[in-house]
Each structure stands twice: as structure tokens, then as C-alpha cells.
Amino acid sequence: MKCIEMNDLEIVGMNGAPLVECGRSLPVARRKSDGFHCVLQIPKDDEPISFETPEEAESYAATGRWTKIQGTIQIPRSCFSGDSAGFTHQPMMIFADDKLLDQADRLPRPGSFNGERLVWRRLDGYDESIHAACCSEETSARLLDEWSQLLMKRFNAWYYYHRDQDYLKRLADFALCAAISRGLRWKAYLRFALVQEPEKIRRTFDAFTLREFPDASWERYKEEIKDLNDFLNNRTPFEHLSVEKSDDTSTESKLRGIARVAPDDAPTKAVA
């Protein structure tokens, strides 16, 4: 790659648009010295980065090809060595809607991950719950995978306990949006199928799952869905503890001394 002055670049947006609740995309960077913009991808084979004029950048943003962030973000330090030595890691924008992060129990948005600092910025023209940050490609994949795992964990618990179908579908959909690694995507597809309307499962399999997993077979897919259903139904996802039953039947007897029952989290008193 041709030498590029890293300190002369700042991130002002991302390629594409936040079409789902989380994901990643290439950053759009601006050269401070002349205001020209580029989609920042580490070029291979000594190819120069092509820069566009500020007016052209505006037109890309206006047609939804790029999405601007509010303010700017510095190129992550983890992505280059020295001020002009060039990229060592591909920088990547990661965006997330707080609605998804809340389900993943990852609110507030992390200030750092995998040793990289994350500066979150709102996206122009989008809901204030959506923010984007920039980090290395590796970190972006790990972070999204982490969210996907957390979402599937919640899915498992809710599938076992509560079975709110709409909510489960939302969780599985979120988990698919987040999952990057192949293993996690397969698991997320299975959960998505588990809570889909039966007539749609095959359609999604043919149009999407099969595109990502060309070796998968419909028969095997069906079997895995069934196995997952059995697994999630028949075994509590957590350590099983026996439940005590009481013989109290009248309301008065149930409430007797109940205000004196210490909560689980109360400090235990030493027994003499």
C-alpha cells in the first residue's frame, strides 16, 4: 500500500447502512488535509486507495450507500503501526442498536473490548439508539460473536421457561444478525428455525442457510432442529436444584412470619 499519513485520516462514517440491529461494515474515512473521502479497506498488492471529493461523498450518503456518523472517530491505534507505516489490521465499523444490546445484557455499550478502545457515535439520520464504533476486523468479529452467544443463551433460557414465541423469534433473529463465525451462525439458524412458522422453515433453509452451508442437507437440518428442541426442553439450561414444597394451604399460614424471612442475599449469621 502507498504510504498514507494515518494522522491525516479520520473516520466519518461507514459503507452501507445499519439495515439490522447490529453488524459491521467498512469505515468511510476523510482526509483532513483536503476533505476527500474513501471507503477504508486495506488495499492488497500496492493498490492505492481511491478518494472521492466531499461533494461526491455527500451524494453517496444522500443515496444511502454510505452512512455518516455524528462527529468523527480516530483510526484505531490497533490497526496501524507508526504514523505513516501503514495498516497492520483492517479497521471495521461495528454498529449496534441498544435494543439488541439490552437483550444481550451488554448495555451500556462497552468502552473497550479485546484490548481496544471503542468510541461510540450516533449515526446520522437513524434512531438515537443506534451507535457505531471502529475497531480492528478481528475485534469486531469477536465482539459480534460474543453478543450472539449471549443472545442465544437468553434464547435457551426463555425457550425452556417461558416460550413467548414472538420474543424468542426476535432473539434468534438478533443472534443471527450478530453471529459472524460459521459455528455460531449454524446454531443461530437452528434456533431461528425452532421458532419460525413451520411453512417458512424450508424456505429460509433453501434461500439462506443452504447458501451459507452448501453441504447441509434438509434432512439433517430437520433432525438437528428436533434434537435442539429436545435438548432445550428436557434439560434446564442451568444446574438443576430440587424444589422444596410446603404443605401450607391457607393464605394466613402461607404468610405467617413471611416478613421475617431473610432474602437469599442476606448475610448469613454464624452459627454458635
Partner: protein
């Protein structure tokens, strides 16, 4: 004169290597004849316009959600009709988050033209192509542009010759740059690939269902899945929706979403042409 003007005669003289040219021609002609053409666009244009409107075609530049005003000016200057734009074998990520590749046979049903460079880069108000011309006037650029126009029926032949004449290796079309043997300096003064990539223009819309390969970025791939799932199930016998046809219709679909979806498409293109 254009990079291909009088090329058969020019390759016989230094600095061209005639023997090498002759040796490369068969491979280059083969690559040129097979070279898929690629169009990159954004979600809004694809979904808010193409999917919901019959006949589900990528529209020429007067369609909505296109980068039109500057492009239309360039078209007017060079005498092109409103066009759908493709690059021969290359995809530029700046145009959006979905890349669609089409086989050469798509050209048969179209009128249009081609140039051995990005025509907008030459005369667009935001031009980026540099040339050594005797004058910097716009009229001189326009003249150069017009000299470089090829018809749809002839561009692949010329493309094969250009690959053989200016590139030591065909792969340099993607990973290197041409030798600077043209007097106007198109290949000498420019480092950006759009200066040597053939641009193909159709004057009519191009059906998205004819795509040979396609790739999106990750968010768009997930959005497609969600939109697809959100469609109501139709009774048997009802015609499929445009999205159904797009997803399930014939044609190779490359991998799922990828931030480097343009690279994926180019990789597929190179494989298609045997590289």
C-alpha cells in the same frame, strides 16, 4: 487518440513487445470474451425501487436513488444515452453494499456502449482521471472520450487486445496496472484502477434476475433474510414475489454477506475467466 486506436500497428513498434503480445492474445481474448460485468448498488435502490417496481430492473441513470446529476452531465457531454453502468470484472465498494455480476450473454439484448476507462472519471464535474492532452479544455477531454467509445458488439475484441498489449500478465488488470505506453498518459499518470477498467453501459434497464453471481455485505444479507421471512406465505400456485425470485431463482450466489463483498465478486469473476 484512444488507447486502442491503431493498436494493431502500434504493437509492432517499441516500447510494445510484439512477440509477447502475440503470445498473450489467445488467453486475453478468451478472458475478454468471458469477462462478466459487475454492477454495485445500495440497499435503498435495490429494495425501495427495484424490488417493488416491475419489471425489477436496475434502471438507467434517470431512475431514483441513483447517483445521477453529475453522471447525467457526463453522459450528455459524451453523447451517451441514460445508462446502467457496469465495470468489466471489477466492483467498486463505494457504490453500495450489494454487487451483482452478469455474464457476457446479457449484452445480446441491449444497446449500449463501452469505454476503456470510467467515463465519469474523465468528464464528470468531479473528474479524477489525468491525461497528457494538448489542451485542458473540457472540449478536448470530451473529444478524447468520444474517440474512446466502443460499441457493445466490439468492446470485448478490443478489450482482449488491450489486455494483451498493455498488461504483462492478465492478472495485473486486478492486481497491478498497465504499462504506460499510451501517448496520452492514461496508463502513465493514473494509479487508480478505474482509469484502466472497461466501463460497459446499457441504455435499457437490466433485470436483476439475470444475475450470474452476487454478494452483499453482512447487514444486507441479514436484512434480506428478515425481509424474506417477513413475507406472507402464499397459497400454492400464486406467483412468487420479486424477493423470492431473486433469492431462489437460477444463478450462482456467492457466499453470504461479507464486508469485503466486492473482493468476493472479483474473486468469482477471476475464477470464471480461468484465472
Amino acid at each position: 487518440m484512444a488507447v486502442f486506436t491503431d493498436l494493431d500497428r502500434r504493437v509492432c513498434e517499441p516500447p510494445f513487445d510484439k512477440a509477447g503480445y502475440d503470445a498473450r492474445r489467445p488467453v486475453c481474448d478468451d478472458v475478454a470474451s468471458k469477462m462478466p460485468i459487475v454492477h454495485v448498488t445500495g440497499y435503498k435502490r435495490l429494495f425501495k425501487y427495484i424490488f417493488i417496481n416491475d419489471p425489477h430492473e436496475i434502471p438507467p441513470t434517470d431512475g431514483s436513488h441513483s447517483l445521477s446529476s453529475g453522471t447525467r452531465k457526463a453522459e450528455d457531454l459524451l453523447g451517451f444515452k441514460r445508462s446502467v453502468y457496469f465495470y468489466a470484472g471489477r466492483a467498486h465498494r463505494k457504490f453500495g453494499n450489494v454487487a451483482l455480476a452478469f455474464f457476457a450473454c446479457c449484452e445480446e439484448n441491449h444497446t449500449g456502449s463501452a469505454t476503456p476507462f470510467d467515463s465519469g472519471g474523465l468528464v464528470h464535474p468531479r473528474r479524477f482521471i489525468k491525461l497528457k492532452l494538448d489542451s485542458d479544455d473540457e472540449s478536448r477531454l470530451v473529444q478524447y472520450g468520444k474517440e474512446s467509445v466502443l460499441s457493445l458488439s466490439e468492446w470485448r475484441t478490443v478489450f482482449g487486445k488491450i489486455l494483451a498489449a498493455y498488461f504483462d500478465n492478465v492478472i495485473d488488470y486486478w492486481k497491478g496496472k498497465p504499462n504506460p505506453h499510451d501517448p496520452e498518459g492514461l496508463y502513465e499518470l493514473n494509479d487508480e484502477w478505474r482509469a484502466w477498467t472497461f466501463e460497459v453501459r446499457f441504455y435499457e434497464g437490466q433485470s436483476i434476475f439475470d444475475r450470474a453471481a452476487w454478494c452483499t455485505d453482512e447487514p444486507l444479507w441479514n436484512r434480506l433474510r428478515r425481509d424474506h421471512d417477513g413475507q406472507e406465505t402464499k397459497p400454492p400456485g400464486d406467483p412468487p414475489t420479486a424477493l423470492d425470485r431473486f433469492m431462489e431463482g437460477p444463478g450462482l450466489i456467492i457466499a453470504p454477506g461479507s464486508a469485503t463483498f466486492c473482493d468476493e465478486v472479483e474473486r468469482w469473476v477471476r475464477k470464471e475467466v480461468g484465472l
